[in-house]
Amino acid sequence: MSEHDTGSVEEVLIKYYDGTERLAKVVDREVPYPDGKLIVSRTDPKGIITHANRAFVEMSGYTREELLGVNHYILRHPDMPAVAFKDLWDTVAQGKKWQGYVKNLRKDGSYYWVKATVIPNIRNGELVGYTSVRRKPSRSKIKESEALYATLR
């Protein structure tokens, strides 16, 4: 899909913020964002997935059962810089909306880009979780993000 995809396959050790890590297969192959769809998920206040819509299940390559109850970092792609997610968490912790471009890792190792918006879910004045809604990003924004994130890793 992306003109510089090589299709190369690597095993990459991904280290998460909470100290855990996993060896993940990473394939340099983009899966195009489905037209007209929104990819929706919700988490609890700690980032554990509590809801996934059909588009989310389809694009991630996991089953709904595999997604529910696990940390959202299951989708973290090693090309994403930690500062992007720090900015996400700092922003929503202040009760504000975060928006950014994210490269996500599918179960099969390939990737997809999204424009994500994350908002805190407030019920009776209390934070009960977060909702993330993703839409199709433009090629130019993907290019810009690739260049920017390469300098931040």
Binding site: G36, K37, K97, I119, T131, V133, S138
Partner: protein
């Protein structure tokens, strides 16, 4: 005390009489006077909602946030199988076949419907198009949006999918869809205001029972609806959260 019913100005005009029939049905159920107040303009309706003039409204999802979170309205029910989806269409003979084929400077025909306009703008983003590099012409109905496409006044048009599907075949065949949203969880809701809460339980029960009853079915049919489904508070909050992520 007479209560006031209203309907979001985005419903197809063919169902106008259906809402009057519904209003009559409603008065019988509640045994109280209900006045149906209709609006041409979303803004005028919102102003009256804010001023507490409306007690029951068939609201578009965009207004649900204001009604529920700011004004204390509660969702009674939602229409079955009536998700609000958006279509971006062009003339059938236009060489452009997808949103990414549209370029800065395109002319877009739209309506004042906030949901459709918002979703249309979101679907243009993947082509790097936004309010600063496209021009808009606002029309009063989807039929007029289609006409603007056909007579070359616009390159692309935003339609409520239901409005697009209701165009005459003759007109629709001269257009083509560039993209159609598939969100499925954003839809209209019937919401009830604070002054009317005492009727909420009875009314919900009667609404859910409409499809079981021949008279009720007739009323539903005249409004173009299949029936009503329960919508609990968390489903409503979820829909509002989702819409919040889509608006600036």
């Amino acid at each position: 005390m007479t209560l006031n019913l209203s309907v979001s100005p985005d419903f197809p005009p063919t169902h106008l009489s259906g809402w009057f029939i519904f209003n009559t049905w409603l008065q019988r159920q509640l045994d109280t006077g209900v006045h149906l107040e209709l609006y041409d303009s979303f803004d005028a309706q919102r102003e009256d909602i804010r001023n507490g003039k409306i007690d029951l409204i068939y609201a578009n999802p965009y207004d649900a946030s204001m009604l529920v979170r700011e004004l204390g309205f509660k969702v009674l029910v939602r229409p079955r199988n009536r998700a609000d989806e958006t279509v971006i269409a062009a003339r059938a003979d236009d060489p452009r076949n997808c949103v990414e084929d549209l370029e800065p400077g395109v002319k877009i025909a739209t309506t004042a419907d906030p949901d459709v306009h918002t979703m249309g703008m979101i679907m243009l983003e993947s082509a790097d198009l936004d309010k600063d590099n496209v021009s808009f012409q606002e029309y009063d109905s989807y039929v007029l949006v289609a006409k603007a496409l056909l007579n070359g006044q616009a390159d692309a048009g935003f339609f409520l999918k239901a409005g697009y599907d209701e165009l005459s075949e003759l007109v629709r065949n001269k257009t083509k869809s560039l993209v159609s949203s598939q969100i499925s969880v954003v839809h209209h809701t019937l919401v009830i205001g604070p002054r009317m809460q005492e009727h909420a339980e009875l009314l919900r029960e009667r609404l859910l029972g409409m499809e079981e009853d021949p008279k009720g079915r007739e009323v539903l049919k005249s409004m173009g609806l299949d029936g009503w489904d329960v919508m609990d508070e968390e489903e409503t909050e979820f829909m509002i959260d989702l819409i919040d992520t889509l608006i600036e």
